[in-house]
Symmetry: C2
Subunit: 246 residues, 2 copies
DNA sequence: ACCTAGACTTGATCTGGGTCAAGGGTTCGC
DNA sequence: GCGAACCCTTGACCCAGATCAAGTCTAGGT
């Protein structure tokens, strides 16, 4: 786990310990990255980059949450990815962005100018390999989400989202308590709806239903307690260990 | 375009001209691949590999169509990817398969034993980089599909699927006629439903509706003529050049 | 203290697509 | 030529989730 993090593309001073240091070859790539990396901060609601814009940088999320969204001309929007701290943003080798990237909460990103980053990738194969692993993980996540979008009921969708956020949050805090999990929802009801392919009213109703049925407890609108994670997974319709393999 | 194909992982005798030859460095990797590659044939309906099984090989589709599907315990299934000739199958670096891979039509695959293939990847960085590009393309496709699954109506879903298959098919045949497109549907109504998150009855009804409205013509059940590709794209709800960028 | 705005909840009603059911067409083996 | 197995179509009905419409709750701002 820690060894994997060490191979993540990132930077020295991030609160999340992830650096472009390769455990295998003992080289420190930070040297080659210096001068091309910089930080960018965004307020909640700000757009980081618009779909179709020229992409000047790649980078990773340091703190906060960003989301990838696609919008149709008539305004229907679908969130196609949730970027949590340590997630990579951008696509080496492509000139323009394919989706809108929006700061869902206040957000800090660690960026690298794209061209020099691509050059470095060619010279340091293990960075490309690490990037491949990360991309394959994202692909798996996207495909798991396709099952959620295509076949699950509203209640199962909510439970799936809560279990993903809960798991990520718990593992970041290293408090992998079996059973009980506590976390703050970083998304508005509307953002949840956009991620799940629902309306915000349906999200609200199903949250109330899950609360009524004792699957979750709510302190305020955003603070969630899950008394039994197994129960939540069950509601999500996943087999018990489904997401643990990733 | 041709240069890209030359970099695709593949083999010498495939009907599709794709080989692991690197245009950049003039090396021919086939040499290192010999002895670890082999062919496998499957009949329509056969399962290539089950989710959770140990993955002994990676490879690419030579002819026919395979699909990646996920199934819930109660039998609901969602197709999460469609593999057309030249598409890569498998995940270097992972021991077990994440989805069922099913032969949708008769299928021939060109396979490489996974371990030696992984070893080769480490030694020949440009293969890893080509694989990264392909994976990023797949990720884009998966995310585009999330919009289809989450926000589009049944009619738009059908139109989206037809435009994807039609485009792929037309570009393979190099008959990129502007406007009119003719192709054979390689999927049953049920497979279409599984891909679109619909029931087969709804697929059938919407196909009839598109036919009634002159968006498509049907000769038999599977042979499709699209008189105006622009019209089809319009029905799909994409902006006109949406899928062309990929 | 009061006002406003954004985030959320809840109710009433409507509808797109699911479900159930009854066919039709083709292709196979016998 | 006949049944059987698929694959596909069409109709009738139903329901989960969308839509429309009031509200409530909370945090700021003045």
């Amino acid at each position: 786990m820690n060894e994997t993090l060490d191979l993540t593309i990132g930077c020295e001073s991030c609160p999340i310990k992830h650096r472009a240091v390769c455990a295998r070859c003992d080289a420190d790539e930070l040297e080659t990255l210096d001068g091309i990396k910089y930080y960018r901060s965004f307020e909640a609601g700000q757009t980081v980059i618009w779909s179709g814009d020229r992409m000047e940088f790649v980078g990773s999320v340091v703190s906060g949450i960003a989301s990838l969204t696609q919008t149709m001309e008539d305004g229907r929007t679908q969130m196609v990815g949730l970027l949590l701290p340590s997630d990579f943003v951008g696509r080496p080798g492509r000139e323009t962005a394919s989706y809108d990237v929006v700061a869902t909460t206040d957000l800090v990103m660690c960026c690298f100018r794209r061209k020099p980053f691509e050059a470095m990738m060619v010279e340091t194969p293990h960075v490309a390999q690490r990037l491949l692993e990360m991309t394959l993980d994202e692909l798996d996540a996207a495909r798991e989400w396709m099952l959620v979008l295509g076949r699950k009921t509203a209640r199962e969708k909510i439970a799936s989202l809560l279990s993903i956020i809960g798991r990520r949050d718990a593992s970041l805090k290293l408090e992998g308590t079996i059973g009980k999990i506590v976390f703050d929802l970083p998304l508005t009801r509307e953002a949840m709806a956009d991620y799940l392919g629902l309306t915000l009213e349906t999200v609200s109703r199903q949250m109330s239903a899950l609360k009524r049925d004792g699957v979750i407890e709510l302190q305020g609108k955003r603070h969630v307690t899950v008394p039994s994670f197994e129960r939540l997974m069950d509601e999500a319709g996943d087999d018990a260990d489904g997401g643990m393999m990733a």
